[in-house]
Symmetry: C2
Subunit: 304 residues, 2 copies
């Protein structure tokens, strides 16, 4: 499908792309770059590509598809680095969780002869690094592409087919809209999880160890999300600031009402809210976005 | 181990107790009561006990162990109902997520000839009702007992052995301490999950359906917790009000700092917090309180 695909950054998403491209035969050759010599060496040991570089430009040279798989804060630097060597007609994309910032950081720095089409596969785990990838990560998961009004429809179609061959369903929307939706479905939940785990972490030592011991009563679910990559998430909050703050404002208002209901002993308000929230879970399981097994199937050996 | 065990309430915990008592031969006979005729009929169809009653007193009559498996708000009513028929020396316990309120509601209403020892198995799923139980629910999970200073040590030991035979590790602490620890590990996480799912639920219809569609980016984890039983959780918040409000206060303070860090673009503060929170996850997995499989092992078929 592509002659040379450059993966700039080789963490969970980059390494998963390498595995699935190999399995599906989507690239004649895969060029890998990362700024970290240790990570590059690890990628080489894992045989994730055909060529390995510390310099993104070396990997991008002559590629017909470049996918930036770094934290979103690095996009501008990558664009400036690869701009001089990009082949005419190359597609440049990424996998970051914020999309407007990718357009803002990269577009002014890339030649007009290439196609910039930001992308975001809604897939991942709490693990990171080149060892954490696997070929089926994108299967039955959404991938959102956010071309702008100047994007070449043929290039968009080609990138769409690429993600479909990786197993994803593709949705196209504007970068702004993506950033609003993800602020609610992803960025706010991560912020809340980081915050609650942080609150527990700050407790005195004895209580902290009890929190860990009795975490199965609810807390442990939050710790999984709060174990996600720190650099990646720092960049997401810095680059989707407005949408995150707006969403957090709504969340905080609702939390104030809930606190008041508890203080006043308003059981009816609590019961009403706790009943409504059940429906959303049902919808998510129905459309196949989560398992219906109890406890996410954690202990499926336990079930009758 | 016991001649007659009465289960007052036959939801997830009650039915799981029935399964494990049968498997381990812990009771000669199991008497079941619930106020709901439909649930009682269902319990009978599932063959969860030897006798079935709408009246808790009928089940408790002659029992040497009574376990109240209702929402915590029903404890006082149950105590008044069963008090006149309780056998001398019987152990009366429960499984609720708040413990001081169980002592307060039940102790004044029970005869001094019985042993009240509140209990709380840290085990459950997001499902409820008599169909949702399974025998291994309590395996390798903690069960906390909260006797008071007047409790008979022999009775406490017997109840401890009972839970150990159900597969649990038993920990003994005061009711007040239990309620503080659980406010952090369980009640606050549930409150936050209910709140965030409620915030999403209130969005305009189009955005709401996108939230469901793209929920795999983080949100779906919260919906599992927010699908828990509404009556049970209403009662928990009403009966552990002070500890929950105190914990919520700390959480809200921390959230304000986090919001300020995002607004100011303080990447260092964010990175620092997101790094510290990783350690807690590691500790939880190390002591066996959660699986180390990515995504809770949701998609274990996917992994390489």
């Amino acid at each position: 499908m592509f002659n040379r695909v450059a993966l700039v950054g080789i963490g969970l998403i980059g390494s998963s792309l390498s595995h699935v491209m190999r399995r599906e035969g989507l690239a004649q050759e895969i060029a890998i770059s990362t700024r970290s010599p240790e990570t590059l060496e690890r990628a080489r040991k894992l045989n994730l590509g055909n060529e390995y570089f510390l310099d993104a430009a070396e990997a991008a040279r002559g590629a017909d598809l470049v996918i930036v798989c770094t934290p979103v804060g690095a996009c501008e630097h990558v664009a400036k680095t690869i701009a001089p060597v990009l082949a005419e007609g190359a597609i440049v994309s990424d996998v970051g969780s914020v999309k407007q910032t990718v357009l803002d950081q990269m577009k002014p720095n890339l030649p007009e002869t290439v196609h910039l089409i930001p992308g975001h596969p809604i897939a991942g785990t709490e693990f990171s690094g080149p060892d954490s990838g696997f070929a089926s990560l994108f299967e039955e998961r959404w991938c959102i592409l956010t071309p702008d009004e100047n994007s070449d429809p043929e290039a968009v179609k080609k990138l769409q087919r690429f993600w479909e061959k990786c197993g994803s369903d593709v949705e196209i929307m504007t970068a702004r809209h993506h950033d609003l939706v993800l602020a609610i479905t992803s960025h706010l939940p991560h912020l809340i999880a980081y915050n609650i785990v942080g609150t527990a972490n700050d407790l005195e030592t004895e209580t902290r160890s009890e929190v860990i011991k009795f975490s199965a009563s609810g807390f442990r679910d939050f710790t999984r999300i709060a174990a996600s990559d720190p650099t990646m998430w720092r960049d997401i909050f810095l680059h989707n600031k407005d949408a995150v703050l707006e969403t957090l404002g709504r969340f905080s208002e609702d939390l104030s009402s809930l606190r008041r209901a508890i203080r006043k002993g308003d059981g009816e308000m609590l019961f009403d809210l706790f009943t409504r929230t059940r429906d959303i879970r049902r919808s998510i399981v129905e459309i196949g976005q989560d398992t219906e097994a109890p406890n996410f199937g954690r202990y499926s050996k336990d079930e009758q």
